[in-house]
């Protein structure tokens, strides 16, 4: 018997080739070593998906995993993690998502589902407590996310199922396709939707009536209630709960950290047109909270009149205002709402989709792409009708959209003519709405992220706008003021490493990085260790938890190393080093990440020349077998 509470203690393994469904008991040592979500997926990928496996082949795995805090009393305990080898980067890939799906999976009695193989015909999976079955989904193939979910709901005769669904983009193997989860949340990055599509799995519908048991109910209750209280009192509660992440538009624009015109600029002159305030005044309908989250950063927006009347969306994030707004020089806010709806319905990552279009627009501006390349489509900055058309074309791989569906790195290689210098990506994944020229720590985090360019692995938020109170609380006074200064490089490798390790733990626990841990930074190592200990009954300490975070991150890096990743790949696009940021607080700044890497690798215990974890470090983390497999001496 699995000894720990907090977990469901069981998981599903579904072989889509044979249709076989196994219910497996979770192993205690596995849970102690890898904690949950992010850790579980990393270890399974390492064990089961080797170097030669094509991400879109039946041999890849699609893992949806929760953690011991998911579906519990802790605030923001909504998250699940999707892990697969990424078709966008060819290395470790993951996407973390909130909403209702993860908790429901636990109430159904499972911590995780592992999919392998490829169904001969499209299928969907129904999980209702002990009743688990694959059903035929030919009639759902080609449908948008909401169409497919409505049909499944009808078939199951119950509107309380929680869904994970791909749209046409996932079916058509767009390399940045998302998986959409109830209610309209996106597991978007790393192209996990394309992996689901490659397995011919359209949808997962989950309904759970069971319970998540707790080891020390009274103690855990106190910890959770305290955490809820602290969140409500946090200085950022009001703005974040009112505006969500969209509130960052104005702040980041001022800093020169709001990538505009494919990173040619760091500020968007029309930022006020797409700010959270404008969004709220014109289109706000109501707040939406993820499972057990008091922050409700998600909102419903509806366009009531004009050319996009009727467009209604959940969760229009800062990132999307960046990628489908400033990034493509588009200040028509209603069109961004429409674009967000389309991405959610077609199953596309708004970040990579917008960045790929911005890349193409810059190539058009520079004359590298012409009408003969695009099938006659003119790629003028800010032409939102073209942007909306392109999203359709990408999702269906029509015409020029077929090229953009490959993502910037592959598209650049196919286009040639020096296009690659305008591909704003790291390791194949498009950079989100941050800029290392305006925030050094973020530039470093982009290159050290284990899933390609990403703001959420290191997630250095302390120096984003300067957060001195938390800087002191987390690290003491000795690193002030540099640690909260966005343009200082000092102490930033330490800040990024701590974020990466802590983030790996949060993404494994089922808690949220945007919620109480990084943005409203009330839950840190001690609070998380206490929560895990009292929820599960594991003998969890801060030291042990830190080791788990470091172990997970090292194995993700090693999975990259297995695929040839080393220091040479930890680099930013040329633009950041050579073209000064023209605007905002960061005006005139360039950024060279290379000098920061020495310190980063040293602190990590990795070889400074190669950026590869040393045997000593891997041994310390209990990963000597990993060193053996990689041939690290």
């Amino acid at each position: 018997m699995f000894p720990y509470k907090g977990y469901a203690g069981r998981y599903l393994r579904v072989n889509l080739t044979t249709g076989e469904i196994q219910v497996c008991e979770l192993d205690a040592t596995f849970a102690e070593t890898w904690l949950g979500g992010n850790g579980f997926g990393t270890k399974i990928l390492w064990d089961e998906v080797g170097r030669d496996v094509d991400p879109l082949s039946p041999d890849n795995r699609l893992i949806i995993a929760t953690g011991p805090i998911c579906g519990t009393l802790m605030p923001n305990s909504s998250r699940s993690e999707v892990i697969a080898k990424s078709p966008l980067t060819g290395i470790y890939g993951d996407a973390n998502v909130g909403g209702m799906f993860g908790p429901e999976l636990k109430f159904a009695g499972y911590d995780m589902i592992i999919f392998e193989g490829r169904a001969p015909e499209p299928v969907y999976l129904v999980v209702e407590d002990d009743r688990v079955q694959l059903r035929e989904a030919r009639h759902l193939w080609g449908k948008t996310v909401s169409e497919a979910q409505a049909l499944v709901q009808q078939e199951l005769g119950d509107d309380n199922f929680k869904f994970a669904t791909i749209g046409p983009a996932g079916e058509n193997l767009v390399r940045y396709a998302s998986i959409q989860m109830t209610p309209n949340r996106s597991a978007a990055r790393s192209g996990v939707g394309a992996v689901m599509g490659s397995k011919r799995l359209k949808c997962i519908a989950v309904r759970g009536f069971g319970k998540v048991p707790i080891a020390s109910p009274r103690e855990f209750y106190e910890i959770a209630v305290q955490a809820h209280k602290k969140l409500l009192q946090n200085e950022f509660y009001k703005p974040v709960s009112r505006y969500g992440t969209a509130g960052l538009v104005t702040l980041m624009n001022r800093m020169g950290r709001f990538p505009t015109k494919n990173f040619q600029m760091g500020s968007f002159p029309f930022a006020d047109d797409i700010s959270a305030e404008t969004l709220h005044d014109r289109y706000f309908v109501n707040d939406v909270g993820c499972f057990n989250c008091p922050i409700h950063c998600d909102k419903v927006y509806r366009v009531r009149d004009g050319e996009f009347a009727g467009a209604a969306t959940n969760s229009l994030e800062y990132e999307t205002l960046g990628s489908l707004g400033a990034g493509v020089w588009n200040n028509n806010l209603a069109s961004i709402i429409r674009a967000n709806v389309m991405c959610d319905e077609l199953g596309l990552d708004t970040i990579s989709a917008g960045r790929t279009i911005a890349f193409a627009m810059e190539l058009w501006e520079k004359g590298i792409l012409t009408g003969s390349d695009t099938g006659g489509i003119a790629l003028e900055w800010g032409d939102y009708n073209t942007i909306l058309d392109l999203l359709q074309h990408v999702a269906h791989r029509q015409g020029f959209g077929n090229l953009l569906a490959e993502g910037t790195r592959r598209a650049a290689a196919l286009i040639g003519k020096g296009a690659e210098q305008y591909a704003m990506e790291v390791k194949g994944q498009e950079i989100a709405a941050q800029d290392g020229r305006a925030q050094r720590s973020m530039g470093l985090a982009h290159v050290t992220s284990t899933r390609g360019a990403d703001h959420l692995k290191g997630f250095p938020v302390l120096d984003e706008t300067g957060y001195p109170s938390e800087g002191v609380r987390r690290y003491g006074t000795q690193y002030m003021p540099e640690i909260v200064d966005p343009l200082a490089t000092r102490y930033k490798p330490m800040l990024v490493i701590d974020g990466e390790n802590f983030g790996a733990v949060i993404d494994s626990s089922g808690n949220c990085k945007s919620g109480g841990t990084f943005v409203l930074a009330e839950i840190y190592w001690q609070e998380m260790a206490d929560a895990i200990r009292t929820a599960t009954g594991m003998d969890m300490t801060v030291e042990r938890l830190k080791t788990i975070g470091e172990r997970i991150y090292n194995l993700q890096r090693c999975y990259g190393v297995l695929h040839g990743i080393s220091r040479k790949d930890d680099r930013l696009p040329r633009r950041f080093k050579e073209e000064p940021n023209p605007s905002g607080h960061a005006k005139g700044q360039t950024f060279d990440v290379d000098p920061l890497l020495d310190e980063y690798y040293q602190l990590r215990g990795w070889d400074v020349k190669t950026g590869i974890p040393t045997r000593a470090k891997l041994r310390e983390l209990g990963l000597e077998d990993v060193a053996d497999r990689l041939g690290i001496m």
């Binding site: 009393l73 209610p183 009536f209 319970k211 109910p217 008091p294 209604a312």
Partner: protein
């Protein structure tokens, strides 16, 4: 005292379900929560709903063993689990679906207002669920309509 539910403030986060189920089951089990957030997904709209503590409770009417009683003073309608024979007549009788049946224990169960300090109201972060004196809840409801009217009038004047 009464649960005052203002669904316009509900975000659908289900904190009420989580804490209700924990209070009564010592585990997190929204399926056994006495309060449920009903969802309308397009676009997301939410309505928390639980027992309304009827003055003439149909559940009590239907109970063949008088296990359901209403406290005249507090107005609380409660199930005596020791008397309950698990026939589920009350579940059928309740027009709101507020009465439920616990298969593990073989008894009916419903909102018990947590002995006068409801967890749902205590934990709700937006004030969508509050526990208030009846007179106050009526006064608030009374204010809602006219306030909206006044706002509408200003809107028209503004234009």
């Amino acid at each position: 005292m009464q649960l005052y539910i203002d669904s316009t403030k509900c975000t659908g986060c289900r904190i009420c379900e989580v804490f209700c189920s924990f209070k009564h089951e010592s585990a997190i089990q929204p399926a056994k929560s006495r309060i449920t957030v009903l969802t309308d997904t397009e676009p997301s709209r939410f309505i928390p709903f639980t027992c309304v503590q009827c003055a003439r409770p149909a559940c009590a009417e239907a109970c063949p063993v008088d296990a359901i009683t209403r406290d005249a003073e507090s107005g609380l309608v409660s199930v005596n689990a020791n008397e309950c024979i698990g026939c589920r007549m009350c579940v059928q009788a309740c027009p709101f679906g507020a009465m439920a049946y616990d298969r593990d224990r073989g008894v009916a169960y419903k909102c018990d207002l947590c002995d006068g300090d409801p967890e749902c109201a205590r934990m709700c972060p937006t004030g969508a669920i509050q526990f208030l004196r009846e007179e106050i809840t009526i006064a608030r409801r009374r204010k809602e309509g006219p306030t909206r009217l006044k706002r509408a009038a200003h809107l028209i004047e503004g234009e």
